[in-house]
């Protein structure tokens, strides 16, 4: 009964979405306030019914209702409760439900917090979100219904993919989807503003915090995904340029460009065309990401759906979304007026340069990701694009971006005097140059040009951004002055410093990781990067829903024991596949990492040992970047602006919404 209730809730949501996509839009064209207000009610209604549907599916998982096919395929009575809940989005159907539910949440949030905006603007934006919702609901109801029943119901389920039984992956999809779906807000508002013909500072100011929040979620999702693959895949890598990683990285790149370009549009009124285009791209790339992951067209760890009708549905949907939004752009772009002019040396041109570089990187990643599809479709053979290509492309273009990361915050809007810029940044530049020379030239063992470049860039970004703090404090150096700087400024500072931290991590882990594959008998020891690894042997140890071979490796530095690594090889009872669980000793400056390969003769194991210097810095940097985004959103001026405008608008706006909030 409960699953049918969930199914019914989805159908009702679809009806509401149909209303939301049409009535407010018509209202906006005809100037009918009552029709426009419908959008708010349907947005809340959709969210409520989606929550209901999501609750029903969760209930089916928690109670192990195997008469629901999706539950039977992805759960098991022995699965721990926490993973029974995360299994809701562990595969195709449920993750779509999560997608739509989050879209409902974002729409409801837009409906609730947009009272200070002109009603027509909100009505059009909600209508666009309603259209996106229709697409995904139809997709779910027609091709991938999570509530489909299975007769007769099996006594036991197939269990959740063991790879997904990890706290990191339980949280990874919701975060990533919050980011993907959140980009739909910027998308809807860009379309709405374009249709209304009013791309003004108010639009940019209003879009900024929403885009930043979505981008924060995307950042956290990507960071967590990277950490998860390091932990779970058992080969110590943190980024593989896997199509699915690329699928989340491309919207992130476009989103990063977008939040910077929105800043210019808000402050200076420039780049309007470009900002709108980026908003369209960021969301289109999010959809493309969903398409790549869900359709199974690409070979990947994550690709679960291999039903061609699903792939075609998303492809058609994607074409409609991209096509129609570009059509609106083509129709309206000629009317968009350019903003203030700026000089060659100015914050605008540095931000523009950064934007172009981000887009170039996104396009290259797109090329590398789609090339196998294109080659296959044209009958040129089956190819894959090598990991080194992505690395090389990234290391050619990203350093230029990082140079701009130090220049832009030190420049003024509109016009920057060259001498003044030089005075502000020369210390950072000199320090970076010295760092680069020390680590780049062969003064000591292990120095390499790439290490020099990476560390120099990190020093440059750090010092150049800190220089802006000094500049802001030049009139009054006191704690008070430090505290009076706006939160958004500190957000920028933190995010930029986070980038430097991540660069240090990436550089050092790429240059100085040590890896060893070897055979170890119980009692054997081996030395790696100054640490002695001693294998005690592996013994069987049962888990809740698996049986593990539990290995113990003691690690010594000199005579002192510094860590005990406990890697496991697990065999899940419900399926025959084995799973590697790495044993990791976490450290600020290095990780020690061991994973078991296969049992060889007489208690010996093939084994993989790693020394990973500064690998934590990569994710630490990601977290800093995300925190920077949060700090920027927390800035007082957004809240003050909202409060002021709501007060000015009076109760009238609230009344039309009928007290729905």
């Amino acid at each position: 009964m409960i699953p049918e209730l969930g199914h019914f809730a989805l159908i009702l949501t679809l009806c509401l979405a149909l209303i939301q996509a049409t009535v407010p839009l018509a209202g906006a064209f005809r100037g009918n306030l009552a029709w426009m207000a419908v959008g708010r009610s349907t947005a809340f209604g959709q969210f409520v019914f989606l929550l209901l549907a999501f609750g029903c599916l969760t209930y089916a998982f928690v109670t192990s209702d195997f008469s629901v096919a999706y539950v039977a395929e992805n759960s098991n009575t022995r699965l721990p409760l926490i993973y029974r809940i995360s299994a809701v989005w562990g595969a195709h159907e449920g993750s779509l439900l999560l997608w739509v539910t989050l879209l409902g949440a974002w729409s409801a949030a837009v409906a609730a917090f947009s009272r200070s905006l002109p009603p027509a603007m909100v009505a059009r934006a909600l209508a666009v979100m309603g259209m996106v919702s229709i697409g995904f609901l139809l997709f779910m109801l027609l091709t991938s219904n999570p509530f489909e029943r299975l007769f007769p119901a099996p006594p036991e389920g197939r269990d959740l993919n063991p790879l997904l039984q990890d706290p990191g992956l339980a949280m990874h999809p919701p975060l990533l989807y919050m980011g993907y779906v959140g980009m739909s807000v910027a998308f809807s508002f860009a379309l709405s503003a374009m249709i209304g013909g009013k791309l003004d500072a108010a639009w940019a100011r209003w879009s900024r915090p929403w885009t930043t929040i979505a981008w924060v979620f995307l950042t956290l999702g990507i960071t967590l995904g990277s950490w998860w693959s390091y932990n779970e895949l058992g080969w110590g890598g943190w980024w593989f340029w896997d199509p699915v990683e690329n699928a989340s990285f491309m919207p992130w790149l476009a989103g990063t460009a977008l939040i910077h370009s929105l800043a210019v549009t808000e402050k200076r009124g420039a780049f309007k065309n470009w900002t709108v285009l980026l908003a369209l791209f960021a969301f289109s790339l999010s959809l493309l990401g969903t398409f790549l992951v869900r359709s199974g067209v690409l070979v990947s760890v994550h690709a679960f759906a291999t039903d061609p009708s699903r792939g075609i549905f998303i492809l058609v949907f994607l074409l409609i979304v991209v096509g129609s939004s570009l059509a609106v752009y083509a129709w309206r772009a000629p009317r968009i007026r350019g903003g203030g002019s700026f000089d060659l040396l100015s914050r605008e041109s540095f931000l523009l340069g950064g934007n172009v570089l981000l887009v170039v990187i996104a396009v290259l990643v797109l090329l590398g990701t789609l090339a196998p599809l294109i080659y296959d479709a044209l009958g040129w053979g089956k190819i894959s694009v090598g990991f080194p290509w992505f690395n090389r492309m990234f290391s050619i273009f990203s350093p230029l971006l990082f140079v701009l990361l130090g220049l832009a915050p030190n420049s003024r809007w509109k016009h920057m005097d060259g001498g003044q810029l030089l005075r502000r940044i020369w210390i950072a530049g000199a320090a970076a140059l010295i760092t680069g020379l020390i680590f780049g030239l062969p003064f000591f063992h292990g120095a390499s040009p790439l290490v020099g470049l990476g560390l120099a860039l990190a020093v440059w970004i750090t010092l150049a951004n800190l220089a802006t703090l000094l500049d802001r404090m030049k009139h009054k150096r006191s704690l008070g002055a430090l505290l009076r700087q706006p939160a958004s400024y500190y957000g920028m500072l933190l995010a930029h410093l986070g980038t430097a931290v991540a660069i240090v991590g990436v550089t050092l882990v790429s240059a100085y990781s040590v890896e060893k594959d070897l055979r170890m008998d119980p009692g054997d020891s081996t030395t790696l990067a100054g640490y002695r690894f001693e294998f005690e042997g592996a013994k069987p140890r049962p888990g809740p829903n698996y049986l593990a071979q539990h290995g113990i490796i003691r690690v010594y530095r000199g005579d002192r024991q510094v860590a005990v690594l406990e890697p496991e090889k697990r065999t899940y009872l419900s399926q025959t596949r084995p799973m590697t669980e790495a044993g990791i000793d976490v450290g600020f400056t290095r990780d020690l990492y061991a994973s078991l390969g296969e049992p060889l003769s007489k208690g010996a194991w093939s084994m993989r040992l790693y020394y990973k210097p500064f690998v934590r810095w990569i994710w630490g940097g990601g977290v800093f970047i995300a925190l920077g985004g949060l700090l920027a959103v927390a800035d007082r001026r957004y809240r003050m602006a909202v409060a002021r405008r709501t007060a000015a608008a009076g109760g009238g706006v609230l009344k039309t919404a009928g007290g729905k909030a």
Partner: protein, 153 residues
């Protein structure tokens, strides 16, 4: 030309030049980093590149897996049910590697037609068969090669 226009032109010129050089570089390097996929039949027929890395995919032939003592070197045959290629690999095999399973190996041809792999991939789903492997098996199948071993992927 006003000074403002001149500055704009310089900016646009700089951007264009940068993007063009970048793209040219990217495309040139792209061609060199492409890795083609070949089934064993093509490798035996000499269609695979002799001096360039490629990917080989197929099923691990039953009973062909041999492990050398005191090391991590393994040898096995990869087949598309028509022809098979001998593969040598030193390192840790993926969790899902087993005889009869579809795999993809990256590497290059060594002396004597042996494929020296530096990476072996088996996918993280036991029902899963890498699409290229499935497609090449289907092709072999269509040409009238049938064995009991062809389980539906």
């Amino acid at each position: 030309m006003t000074p403002r226009r001149k500055k704009r032109l310089i900016l646009v010129g700089l951007l264009l030049a940068g993007v063009t050089t970048g793209t040219a570089l990217a495309l040139y390097s792209f061609k060199q980093n492409l890795m083609f996929f070949y089934p064993p039949s093509d490798v035996v027929a000499g269609k695979a590149p002799a001096h360039h890395a490629f990917r080989l995919g197929g099923l691990v032939e039953k009973g062909s897996l041999k492990r050398r003592p005191n090391g991590l070197t393994v040898e096995f045959d990869v087949t598309d049910l028509k022809k098979s290629v001998h593969v040598q690999y030193t390192g840790i095999l993926p969790d899902l590697f087993r005889e009869g399973q579809g795999i993809v190996a990256k590497g290059r041809l060594g002396p004597g037609g042996i494929f020296i792999a530096d990476e072996v991939l088996a996918k993280h789903d036991e029902k899963y068969m890498p699409p290229e492997v499935a497609a090449s098996l289907k092709k072999a199948h269509a040409k009238g090669v049938t064995t009991a071993e062809t389980q539906t992927p």
